[in-house]
Symmetry: C2
Subunit: 118 residues, 2 copies
DNA sequence: CCTTCATGGTTCCTTCTAGTAACTAAGGCA
DNA sequence: TGCCTTAGTTACTAGAAGGAACCATGAAGG
């Protein structure tokens, strides 16, 4: 792995993590990485997210060019969300993070329990 | 890339992102991925982080077993922070994320500008 | 001898953000 | 008539993030 200079890396890291490092963006991106989803599908798929935060998160991702929003003008409303090509370039990283979580959550839980015992 | 079931993946994703998906954890992990650092080194290396948030973030990462804290009982205080073996397993992913940021920030900025013009 | 500096924090207070609940439009259906 | 649906918005509240000031301890400077 090639390391950037400290200053450069931190500036970059801070900027990107301001965008995708919030509580919900990664989870939304992960869900969209499997294909097109509607608003309510995402809401049901992501336990704990509120309607408002899903809206806010999707708008942010749309603004950053990671997610596209397609409105079908019908009643009741029908809106599709997709990854843009730029969003697709994040797919592997998001997948890796979720995979890491899957592998190591038990260890984290153990560490946490041990820490709290002291 | 192997996908998990939706429910499973989302639960896992949520849990890990509750741990490393906050505003500062990833940046701190990235800085520690280059080796041992002292408290004040980290503070200077990470522009914008407050003393308090650095303390809180490091404690959280220590609690989760990702970072180790070594106190040298001297005056003035000397405390070293390192990645644990568990923390090291995140190194590649964090590096990939920062690398991605480095490559694509310009595109994000363009998308953002375009979105705001409308 | 008194002041100042360095380090790694803590405490208090304010601001900001995330989350909750209620409301909306507009047509379909019983 | 009145309730269902989807994709939001709005107003309010609780909790987290951030800023400024303070602390202990010894060493160094004048």
């Amino acid at each position: 792995m090639e390391y950037l200079t400290e200053t450069e890396a931190n500036c970059r890291a801070r900027e990107v993590l301001d965008r995708v490092g919030d509580k919900w963006s990664m989870v939304v991106l992960y869900n969209l990485s499997t294909g097109t989803h509607r608003f309510t599908e995402l809401r049901r798929a992501i336990p704990g997210i509120s309607q408002r935060m899903l809206t806010v998160t999707l708008r942010g991702l749309e603004r950053d060019g990671l997610v596209s929003r397609t409105v079908h003008p019908v009643i009741p409303p029908h809106v599709d969300y997709d990854l843009t090509p730029l969003g697709c370039t994040l797919r592997e990283i998001v997948g890796a993070l979720v995979g890491w979580a899957h592998q190591h959550l038990d260890e984290i839980d153990q560490a946490r329990t041990a820490y709290d015992r002291v």
